[in-house]
Symmetry: D2
Subunit: 366 residues, 4 copies
Amino acid sequence: MSKIPVGILGATGMVGQQYISLLNDHPWFDVRFVAASPRSAGKKYKEAVAGRWQLVNTFAAHVGGIIVEDANDVNRAAAAFKKGECSFVFSALEMGKNETCALEEAYAAAGIPVISNASAHRWTPDVPVLIAEINPHHADIIPMQKKARGWDRGFIAVKPNCSIQSYMKPIHALAQAGFHAQKMFVTTMQAVSGAGYPGVSSLDVLDNLYPLKGEEEKSETEPLKIFGSIDNGIFRNAEFPKISAHCNRVPVIDGHTACVSVEFAGKKPGSMEEIKAIWAAYKGIPQEANFPMAPKQPIIYREEDDRPQPRKDRNADKAMAVVAGRLRPCKVFDISFMALSHNTIRGAAGGGILNAELLKYKGYLG
Amino acid sequence: MSKIPVGILGATGMVGQQYISLLNDHPWFDVRFVAASPRSAGKKYKEAVAGRWQLVNTFAAHVGGIIVEDANDVNRAAAAFKKGECSFVFSALEMGKNETCALEEAYAAAGIPVISNASAHRWTPDVPVLIAEINPHHADIIPMQKKARGWDRGFIAVKPNCSIQSYMKPIHALAQAGFHAQKMFVTTMQAVSGAGYPGVSSLDVLDNLYPLKGEEEKSETEPLKIFGSIDNGIFRNAEFPKISAHCNRVPVIDGHTACVSVEFAGKKPGSMEEIKAIWAAYKGIPQEANFPMAPKQPIIYREEDDRPQPRKDRNADKAMAVVAGRLRPCKVFDISFMALSHNTIRGAAGGGILNAELLKYKGYLG
Amino acid sequence: MSKIPVGILGATGMVGQQYISLLNDHPWFDVRFVAASPRSAGKKYKEAVAGRWQLVNTFAAHVGGIIVEDANDVNRAAAAFKKGECSFVFSALEMGKNETCALEEAYAAAGIPVISNASAHRWTPDVPVLIAEINPHHADIIPMQKKARGWDRGFIAVKPNCSIQSYMKPIHALAQAGFHAQKMFVTTMQAVSGAGYPGVSSLDVLDNLYPLKGEEEKSETEPLKIFGSIDNGIFRNAEFPKISAHCNRVPVIDGHTACVSVEFAGKKPGSMEEIKAIWAAYKGIPQEANFPMAPKQPIIYREEDDRPQPRKDRNADKAMAVVAGRLRPCKVFDISFMALSHNTIRGAAGGGILNAELLKYKGYLG
Amino acid sequence: MSKIPVGILGATGMVGQQYISLLNDHPWFDVRFVAASPRSAGKKYKEAVAGRWQLVNTFAAHVGGIIVEDANDVNRAAAAFKKGECSFVFSALEMGKNETCALEEAYAAAGIPVISNASAHRWTPDVPVLIAEINPHHADIIPMQKKARGWDRGFIAVKPNCSIQSYMKPIHALAQAGFHAQKMFVTTMQAVSGAGYPGVSSLDVLDNLYPLKGEEEKSETEPLKIFGSIDNGIFRNAEFPKISAHCNRVPVIDGHTACVSVEFAGKKPGSMEEIKAIWAAYKGIPQEANFPMAPKQPIIYREEDDRPQPRKDRNADKAMAVVAGRLRPCKVFDISFMALSHNTIRGAAGGGILNAELLKYKGYLG
């Protein structure tokens, strides 16, 4: 089977680099088109990232030789699409919200599906915010989105903020088992890579940490869209759980850690062991259909009192698994636990690739 | 007025060093007696700490020349007491719980008041756990303690765990104003100095953080004793607030930061501005009587979205003030905020000295 | 005696903030004029730095109320000068080299002495690069500079790069004692604050370090001007020592550390003890005349095998002393040692203030 | 071909863990015997390391089930040897020097070859200190060692200190090309993992660094044994290069970085490009014979001005390659450059495995 040719928008930025690195040996997708800001356009990819490549892993040799296109020039992408060099794009655009919205829509209008890491469309009512194990059925809004927008083949699907990835799957697993979170407290300790490069100044995090006001609202509201339902072509948010979030930046390179306390509505789990068993058995379509980027076990539970830890646990199962720990009865709500997710892999490019695998599996990528 | 001669038990350890450094120029107290483990006994203090002194500030020249006594030898302290070289001791002992309990009691029985940083006696029913602004009236158990124990002049008073210092004063200020916390969620991000020296391995906190199970119970229960009452010669715990704590070690040298959410029982503050005004006006005996170690304003509120921060705020007002910030309505409870306290100064030696100043003021130190 | 009114150019940047903080209680100088970029001009200083203030210490209340001027508008400074609000300026400008050169010259031409932290004029042949203990006689080029430039009262004096401050005084002390360094190897480990704010990305220094090519040439050549002589109205560089420098950025907030090896020309010190005695006795005009900002002892030697250390030693004597250690015979040259200097205090604003004290003492500041 | 059964002495310590992790899928060697302190003896390996496992990678399932032996009990190893469960051992013992010497000799006397990471035997005159690309011919002392000691099959071979690994190969490559280093200055910036676990206190390296006196002599003298020759059954040290070393501990997890300056004796390289070409072409037996643990290219040169960097370069080619950079003419000697090596892989367990591969290839492991 020949691989599907894919493009990367914002290919020279940090998330774009991560996409390219993770797709080096992907069995389904092959990077054939890269686009970035006008500054990089016209250069070979390897020249465009010289001195700016941030990752420990490098990029495939053939990607290094691709000429970078101007991401604003949708016609070039459309031409590549017609020549069979680009079936869909991963968007890692780092523009302002309005520009990103408009540009991603232009790609979709030009017939090119857009699987986006950008936050711009997260609250667009007909755009799904996908976590492949949790709400794969939200992809089914795509035909409605296409129809309403008058788009032929193109569409837009996005992923949520990296800060919520660690606790959404443990909560979803319990909900599937009949234990519905009604109220939650979440305190996140977020890695510096979440702010891109150069991002966080060393003077702000050496021997220091600081609150992240802007992340708190996202952490409180995005889960409600993900747990929501499709209603007449748009998403209707879930009402629960009510979430109160405290977000912090800490001197950790990769890996967002969350301290979580939950009160259930109605039925409560009988024991901590029951919860651990639910988490251990939790699986979604990515696991059942054995997607290339899927972690075998989406939630790994560590019994040690001092886990999870970002440096030791963030890379679990290709950095795609959530690592949970410290599950215990809560003095005020029902349970407390911790959970950890790799923010630039599971929480960004890896999550985007998993979404693409889901959309391919569901037939939305041709 | 001549200064009161004081002794330090555990004088060579990290908290002991902090006591000695902070007492360098104290207007009331003068270090004249130092005791430590048998290994250090017989050496001059400066020799005993050579290569082990951890602080940026050094010790007073006259302290460097004092011969270290064996802390286990209560007779030496009693002799120093008789010679007028030691009116009371600060205990920074780092032994096991049972040994510390026994040794501190032996000092008290020998007529020497013990103002302790050790955790051993925190749950002894007739030993007060003092935060000078919050429960100065708890000192009034001392005559009952002396009588019950058959102690003449000696007694034991302790301070709470450093992890709770940041949020206790903001909560107390609101309670004094009539707004009583009923339920609380607290997530702490605690500095490595809280574990002493060598304490936390660099391999555990470079690019990393980890949960601190052992601190969580202390954070949930000690506040109830501090908010409790004296009943028939012993302390009866308060029933509220119910606290759920998540504690974490983070790569910060000094300064424990807490993310706090509170639900009030009954009456609630009318606005965030009302709360800030309450905090700004908050004062206790240390402020009213202008104790040397007292911060002028026990709670300093910072309006910036990205404060408090440990590196920038921990040293506020001699590192004795709590710095709060990020006050906002909570999506689940009533309010959320952050608070920060210097763990080895306000949370350890500085807090102990403030307690001694309170006990002197109240007439319990002769 | 009334204080001399001084101005700060670039007052809102990191070095500018450091100047303002260090001058809070200065007995000779009083900040009365502050200037920065047009973006800040017209605001009160406290408003201009709101959310940008990087230091632990704050600024004097009266400075917070000063209206920030546009640093490009030399006429405003000249007017302030005429009104007696500004006798000279400290320049902490952060512009490009050519702009800085031109602007500093415009201030000098307007009659305002400029004591600069900027690197722009370091290689201008008639501008002295001063380290107050080492080459105070270089200030004597000022009358020649004024005359050649046709300046009445204004002149320009600068300070060297922060990376060389740690090893220049130990080398100078030995030279004064007759032991002249002929060849030197220097490896620096430099703090992130040396790059200003936001400066170094956290992603570049958490669990990492990197070479600093640009600092190496400065470290090799600036010492030769400082050890040089005035010849016909300009500086002639010394020929020795030949210096080979390796410079590195390390995850340290403040404090540049250098590992140094030296070969002497001709006479060599008889022993390590002789060298330590020379360093202990080393004094310059700042010490002899007891300048407010002068460290009592410019070189403090620590005998411990594991010193100097930036976190523990950078603040020695108001952060104005060099802390040396690890002196030993070298296997290849004559001696090896380490030395440490606080880069944003001694190496920047504190060093600038000390230079101003020297120039005042020598009568060049009216 | 069946794998050779191997044992690990000190299997529960940090280097022992690294051996076990790196041997998970080794094509030649299979861990079948593990020994540690009496405290661990009798437990399954997975139980012995529970809560002490420091690595991100875990251990093979079958190793987890092996019962840990008491490393002091040579008879158990001899029995395992007889049963074909252990052909030789990797020693990662963490005892005192004399005990390690004696115990490793006891294993050798019992017929078991010892490939050691311990420093104890580095200066034993008939024990080779091997870097597989540099001095594979030093292995040829083994028959002489056996004969002199009266050992039948057993022998001892060691590896050098991790601090010298980064610069030895670049120097050796130039020597092979006819350019012999005569004098060298080396300043190392060494990772905390070099001190084991718990090793370096976080209070010593957060926002800090410190000199490492003890590493300096090793860095100056071990190269002379490695560049030395076999003379009448013992090693005679080389006379050159004379090395002056400054060693420092820095807040980096893994990866020792060195700043190096070199003066050649006699013939000098014609250009920096010539040196880079020599490094690029450098190969040894491990590369020629394609050993499993061998890096394809022992020296990787990075052209970027800001490389090498430990976080980005330490894992190059399975963390077995040296990454060099910043080659330039030196102002005092002939050339300056930087080099970096992973201290716990190439500098410890990975280097030990490569040595075993060499000894197997040369026929010394049966």
